[in-house]
């Protein structure tokens, strides 16, 4: 009986697989072409950044290159004061990432290890805060920074100061860090905490010696992710700073675009240089980056 049924079905099945094979090749080809289209804009900008702009002015975009080299890059570093802007970026990004991870891990630690009635509410509040449009908080924060500046007698105490930008980043991103770290901590067995407390460890020891070492993987992922986000942020440095030479590189690019509109290939070199840190992060720490993004998966 059974053989009778199976025999006629066999060739039909094979045919189906064959059709699937053709379809697969078609899909692969489509994805490959699409991928080339995807990286093309970056490759084209890279190519243009190696050529002088006057060649393009004279012979059009497809003219064969006569000069190729890194001269635009040397020029960009010198004329656009890129080292200054990179230093500004570091002054904002490094403290902001550090404080975000510190505060996020503290919150997550208390919320998951010491049960309050308010725990879920706090987590909700933090996570929701992270998703508010930044424009919604701008006016009062701006005013607050100015008032605090007047109070301490220095108008540039927070406004137009990298610490002001750091604080707003920390306040916003903390919600995401807390959310991600607390969902990770929930997977760590409670027995570890219990034995620490039975052994008479203080709250601080419990956090610093017991929990923090266990949090290394999500902290690494978050650090990579936060670095990219804060590095790429455009809005806050734009509205909370007025002195151009204090701005981080991402915001500075906007102004440079207007200033160097007459030499577009120079701007391409500037943009490529500005992209280097994120590209390094991407290629070297891709695993952490992807891990961090998918841990909580809110935004990009």
């Amino acid at each position: 009986m059974t053989t009778n049924i199976k025999v006629p079905e066999f060739p039909k099945r094979k045919k189906k697989l064959y059709a699937q094979d053709i379809k697969d090749r078609f899909i692969s080809a489509f994805i490959a072409i699409f991928a080339i289209v995807w990286v093309f804009p970056i490759v084209w900008t890279l190519w243009s950044s190696l050529r002088p702009y006057k060649e393009i002015r004279a012979g059009g975009v497809f003219s064969p290159p006569q000069e190729l080299g890194f001269f635009n890059y040397e020029d960009a570093i010198g004329r656009m004061e890129l080292p200054t802007y990179f230093a500004n970026t570091a002054l904002i990004t490094l403290p902001a990432v550090f404080l975000t991870l510190l505060f996020g891990s503290l919150m997550a630690f208390v919320v998951t290890r010491y049960s309050f009635k308010l725990n879920v509410a706090m987590l909700l509040l933090f996570t929701a805060g992270n998703m508010l449009p930044p424009q919604l908080v701008f006016i009062p924060v701006f005013k607050l920074y100015l008032i605090l500046g007047d109070l301490v007698g220095d108008r540039r105490f927070l406004y137009d100061n990298h610490w002001g930008v750091v604080l707003i980043h920390v306040a916003f991103q903390m919600g995401f860090a807390t959310f991600v770290l607390s969902s990770y901590m929930k997977t760590i067995p409670k027995e570890i905490s219990e034995s620490a407390m039975v052994d008479g460890a203080s709250v601080f020891t419990h956090y610093w010696r017991v929990m923090l070492p266990l949090l290394r993987p999500p902290l690494a992922s978050l650090a990579v992710l936060m670095t990219t986000w804060i590095y790429n942020d455009f809005f806050w440095a734009l509205v909370l700073m007025s002195t151009d030479s204090k701005r981080p590189i991402t915001s500075a690019l906007g102004r440079l675009q207007g200033e160097f509109v007459t030499d577009y290939n120079l701007l391409a070199a500037g943009a490529m240089i500005a992209a280097i840190p994120t590209l390094i992060v991407f290629f070297v720490m891709r695993k952490q980056f992807v891990g961090g993004l998918t841990l909580g998966s809110t935004k990009g």
Binding site: K23, S28, I31, A32, W38, P41, I42, T45, S48, F103, M107, F109, V110, Y114, F116, K117, M122, L124, F126, T127, G129, M131, L132, P133, Q135, L136, V137, F138, I139, P140, V141, K143, L144, L167, A171, F172, T178, S193, E194, S202, V203, F204, Y231, N232, F234, F235, L238, G254, Q257, Y264, L267, G270, A275, T278, L279, F282, R286, V290, K299, G300
Partner: protein, 307 residues
């Protein structure tokens, strides 16, 4: 579980107090006090402040000058500011585009790459590359393709004087900018979906194939329903990102004119000399539009915690 002492309950039951020394209490207070204070002071209180300010007249200079305006700012926006409706229309088109074109493409890519077709590692990197670039860099890169003496106009063989102005011409700019935005969005969605797909039990799919389901049937009837949590998050992100759109348009037009979208409209009205509380009202409208996706997101993420 006795050691999991609730700090609130602690006051009620003195028996448990021995687990927390005075020093521990101070530590705990600092641990949650500082982050909570910072978060409330710089996120929630300002948010409430903006909502209140949107009902006032104020130039943003002296606190004494704040005057109650009722709903005048909103009336002004809804009835006397045609650009608001233009911007809203653009944002809606943006959401629809992301929802029906960009997001499905990201999902499709994820599904195919998850099947480990040849070169899938390379494709994954290629598609994800634009996500790590800042929008400022993205703007410059695309300008290279689309400017009057750029690649596309070169390809069309148009001299500079007759070149298509992709950003200046109203017929093209919204589509061009949405394609640029999709360039990032698709890779991002692909990655999120890929992570979700990895978590799905492979035997589910095998079972479907053995039962003779076609690939499309397997996806629609087996994979897609199993991905429900990821689907919700992807939809929420699609909407939030569409509403948040700001950087790319700002970098292209330098914050003046160009393609009207809500994010830039708020910015024009709150920053610089033209500050008025109409800007606050714009920000509140943007917030109101994002409430539903935010709540959906929270419901999805905290489902287990609440129940």
């Amino acid at each position: 579980m006795t050691t999991e002492t609730a700090a609130l309950r602690e006051k009620v039951s003195p028996r448990r107090r021995r687990f927390f020394s005075r020093q521990d209490k101070i530590t705990l207070g600092f641990f949650i006090g500082i982050p909570t204070f910072l978060h409330l002071a710089l996120v929630w209180l300002p948010a409430i402040g903006t909502i209140l300010l949107s009902f006032t007249y104020w130039t943003g200079i002296r606190v004494e000058d704040i005057k109650f305006a009722g709903v005048a700012n909103y009336e002004n926006i809804f009835f006397n500011t045609p650009i608001f409706w233009d911007a809203l229309r653009v944002n809606v088109v943006w959401i629809l585009w992301f929802f029906f074109i960009a997001t499905p493409l990201g999902v499709l890519l994820a599904y195919q790459i998850d099947r480990e077709i040849r070169g899938h590692k390379f494709y994954q990197s290629a598609y994800f590359l634009p996500v790590v670039l800042s929008l400022a860099v993205t703007g410059i890169i695309w300008n290279f393709l689309l400017r009057p003496d750029g690649f596309v106009n070169g390809l069309l063989g148009l001299p500079i004087s007759e070149a298509v102005s992709f950003f200046g011409d109203d017929r093209y700019n919204i589509w061009v900018i949405m394609i640029m935005a999709s360039w990032r969005h698709i890779g991002y969605i692909m990655l999120l979906y890929l992570a979700g797909l990895k978590a799905i039990d492979a035997s589910l799919r095998e079972a479907a194939t053995i039962d003779g389901a076609t690939e499309w049937q397997t996806f629609r009837k087996v994979v897609f329903p199993a991905m429900r949590p990821v689907n919700i998050i992807v939809i929420v992100i699609t909407i939030i990102e569409s509403l948040r759109a700001f950087d790319m348009v700002y970098i292209i037009y330098g914050g003046r004119g160009g393609l009207p979208i809500l994010g830039v409209l708020v910015f024009e009205n709150i920053a610089g000399e033209g500050a008025s509380m109409k800007g606050a009202a714009y920000a509140v409208i943007l917030f109101v539009l994002s409430i539903v996706p935010i709540i959906t997101y929270l419901q999805q993420q905290f489902r287990e915690d609440v129940s």
